[in-house]
């Protein structure tokens, strides 16, 4: 392209180019001036990287927020417990004692029934001048042997249950229960012996006295059992 010069010898062909450059420079300056002071270099940076040009001072350190996390362990690893507990053995113990408890409630009812029928049998035989009917004798015998058998089974279940691992040498309700049942065991055995002996003394003068002893032991056994059961229930 041929170049044109004016009277002063300036190249007039370059003027429009310079004008365009000057305009672009002014527009750029205006844009920069119009931009917010805390400018975000959005095109170049992520949003998080905001440049705060307004306040060049570093933020004053505020109060440290309280650490409310429970992610701490102030005590460290615990020492093993004093007694090693075997959960399976404990479960077996609890199951056996549950069965013992259920049979025990039945046993208490059986013992009461045996005593009541025993008293009726005694009254029938020795208590009045009316003729002896003997109508309670068989019932009493069946009840007595059933009670003895259930007593033996129930006691065996309790004795065979795994031992209490945290047994303390203190006097508590279980101690009362055990003492009561020990007395009831003696009473139960004595009743059996005296009862059979009384039965063998048929026709003898002292039979009534022996039967009375059997009756008294029966009541004592019932009382011992009542205390033993009551100690656990109440």
């Amino acid at each position: 392209m041929p170049r044109s010069f004016n009277s002063l010898g300036e190249n007039v062909t370059e003027r429009p180019r310079r004008a365009v450059s000057t305009t672009i420079a002014w527009v750029a300056l205006l844009l920069l001036a119009a931009a917010p002071r805390g400018a975000t270099a959005g095109l170049l940076l992520d949003e998080a990287l905001t440049l705060d040009l307004a306040d060049p001072k570093p933020a004053a350190p505020g109060p440290k927020p309280a650490d409310l996390s429970l992610d701490f362990d102030l005590l460290g690893k615990p020492a093993p417990p004093a007694v090693a507990i075997d959960d399976q053995s404990m479960k077996k113990r609890a199951d056996m004692l549950q069965i013992h408890q259920k049979i025990g409630i039945g046993l208490a009812a059986l013992t009461l029934a045996t005593t009541v029928v025993g008293q009726l049998n005694y009254n029938d035989k020795y208590g009045s001048n009316a003729p002896v009917t003997g109508k309670y004798e068989a019932t009493h015998t069946v009840l007595a042997f059933t009670t003895l058998g259930v007593f033996a089974i129930d006691g065996t279940i309790a004795l065979l249950a795994p031992a209490n691992p945290v047994k303390r040498d203190t006097y508590d309700r279980v101690t009362v229960h055990k003492v009561g049942m020990a007395l009831a065991t003696v009473g139960m055995l004595a009743q059996g012996v005296v009862g059979v002996y009384a039965d063998q003394q048929e026709g003898r003068v002292d039979q009534k006295q022996i039967a009375k002893t059997h009756l008294v032991i029966g009541y004592a056994t019932l009382a011992a059992m009542a205390v033993a059961v009551g100690a656990l229930v109440f």
Binding site: A66, D73, N164
Partner: protein, 183 residues
């Protein structure tokens, strides 16, 4: 120079958390449960615990009790409790909590604090809020007292029954803890 060092050490000490250790001999945790036929109370004196108090009053605390240390005065019942709580598998009851004490100055009135945290009981961790009172003594020790009610079923404890009647679900735990400054 010495005064400056003393002042500096005081400042550093104030900025460090205060450590308080639980005194088992002077601390008790009790529980109370109800059955239609019995009201059962038991306690443990084998309590282990520690508290950290930040200068801003934030307190972190942890208390741990062996399940087998609870004594209800009936060894058979205690044995049944161990079975129910599966003490072999879950031998400890543990509480962790955080709260804010209004101040640790001695001689003041007992201050209320709510410890928000977690109770690990029968292997089940549940969030709990434990309201307590804290009283600081001149020797730097603290006495913490409070009560919380724990649901047995929420901790998956199969409630024991007697004569076909189950134990009530609520177990009330009362604590009276003495903490002394760690040496």
């Amino acid at each position: 120079m010495n005064a400056l060092l003393a002042a500096l050490s005081l400042l550093l000490a104030a900025a460090e958390p205060q450590v308080l250790n639980l005194d088992p001999a002077a601390s008790t945790v009790r529980f109370h449960v109800n059955h239609a036929l019995h009201k059962v109370d038991g306690s443990s004196r084998s309590v282990e615990g520690k508290a950290l108090i930040d200068p801003d009053g934030t307190v972190k605390t942890m208390v741990r009790i062996p399940v087998q240390s609870f004594d209800s005065g009936d060894s058979n019942r205690d044995s049944h409790m161990l079975e129910t709580l599966q003490a072999g598998k879950f031998p400890f009851v543990t509480f962790k909590g955080v709260g804010k004490v209004p101040g640790t100055s001695p001689g003041g009135r007992p201050a209320g604090v709510t410890l928000r945290g977690e109770l690990d009981f029968h292997g089940v961790k549940r969030p709990v809020e434990v309201p307590a009172t804290v009283e600081f003594a001149a020797d730097g020790s603290a006495r913490v007292q409070g009560t919380l009610v724990v649901s047995l079923e929420a901790h998956q404890v199969e409630r024991p029954s007697m004569l076909a009647m189950k134990l009530d679900d609520d177990c009330t735990i009362t604590f009276d803890l003495k903490l002394g400054r760690a040496r």
